[in-house]
Amino acid sequence: MTGSLTILRAGPGMTVQDLGRPGWLEYGVSRGGAADRLALAEGAALLGQVADLAAVEMAGLGGEFQADSDLRIALTGAPMRASIDGTAVAWNASHLLPAGARLTIGAAQSGSYGYLHVGGGFQTPEHLGARSAHLAAGIGAALAEGDVLVTGPDSGRGTGLGLTPENRFEGGTVRVVASLQTALFPQAELERFEGTVFRRGARGNRMGVPLESDGEGFRPDGARTVVSEVIVPGDIQVTGDGTPYVLLSECQTTGGYPRIGTVVPCDLPLLAQAAAGAELHFRFIPLEEAVGLERAEAERCEGLRSRCYPLIRDPRSMTNLLSYQLISGVIAGEEDVL
């Protein structure tokens, strides 16, 4: 059975995102998809469903939503204050949103992108085989007040699960590998890059984020004549003034600026989520090590479901306490907690 969710209020930059649309690089369309792909895997684990369903991505600010039918929902990514009909609910958790209930989501408390998932995923129209909005490419549009999002058939059951996320919301150390043009930078510049404390610039978006630092810009040796070459998410492009710029999911597909290295994909959520001003450090690792990390991360994502645990609720916030079966304050996992 399908349902729907009405948007009563939308923060700017709120879009529908899935894993993106691979296969169109040849025609100049980058894969796009969720800025924080790990958040999609977490939402899928919390709802017990596949990870390629579409969710709502909220850029820094949430909104207000009303369920038009009973919906299972999950909240992941940048932690935001959330409540259902005025009662606070946990982030990184799944909940029942009953028909007619209002879900209110505030600003990100840390990080940049929060996600609202529903059982069955959102069934908005597909373009080139995916539902992701790709605003830079002119595909889809930002969500706005009054939009009604149809949800897919939900074959899953149960809510009231929580998941402890990888903390990727406050900056930190990002691992990179050497890539196509790393060798254009003198060894001393690469070492200085590794030794620099960067801050995530304020102008970042789904295409990429600038890295600010107090020192000089980074200079390749005579790289003005680099032939335009394929770009992948995670590439760290160094623009004319020497500022590194990390490309994210909605990046362009080719470019002529030299790239000093490429962020290892499993560390990319940390970069996408770093809020403006968050400190970032970069460390080169060998390709073989990066391959090992990626394989381990893929396995970890597949095992996320087994890491979900039943939510423990604070009895003081429960207005209908007597209607619950309470065993040491733990709600049995099968029950809906609202």
Partner: protein, 248 residues
Amino acid sequence: MAEERAAPPVPEIRTVGVDGMLVSFGSRLSEPANRAALAFRAALAEASWDGVEEVSTSLVSAYVRFDLRHLDHAALRARLEALLAQRDWYAAALPGQRRLWRIPAVFGTDLAPQLPQAAEAAGMTEAEAVASLSAARVRVQTIGFAPGQPYLGELPEAWDIPRQSQLTTRIPEGALAVAIRQLVLFSVATPTGWMHAGQTAVRLFRPDAEEPFLLRPGDEVQFTPVTPEELQGLRRDPLGGAKAEELS
């Protein structure tokens, strides 16, 4: 120039990020390297090896993205080397089903304000520049940067002019811009370092159309000068007056 007639460079295989490999047929743009890249990509698509997720081309190279759980770098490199050894890719023919597109364009005026600057950089008068740019039959060497957006070349030697060091804040959709012996026809509004010498009304990417992309690599393009008034009339047509004929 003696270097131009020298044997083509040997293809080079490099890694791209963690899960990609690139076969480059040259370190600078040349006709044989571009043909080699297009032909090698077609061969990769046809081979459709297990674990390969996506293939594409840029100006002089073919890119492969693969699934690290089903393929490793050593195995992929060995396959790429074996495929490279099968033939002389630099001597490859252009892809089949090519078309010649004639696209109306306004050169100069306030619709394309950098024509004077571009003409001066190329050592021509504005009239000479318009004549040269509209006489050139350029080829789609690759599509990239933005959806459906072609890199078109190669222009006569005089157009070997650099990109600007300062970016233009916003070049509009349909803009025709020139640098380094190439034209780029912009499919979206974006900042750029290329010089805005012409303006068209063509829409290169229509996500809801049955065929979302107008141009294919290998297609040829010639720009026909029109007046701003004529261009205004063409804006109602999604093709902006562009007409195609099949090339055998």
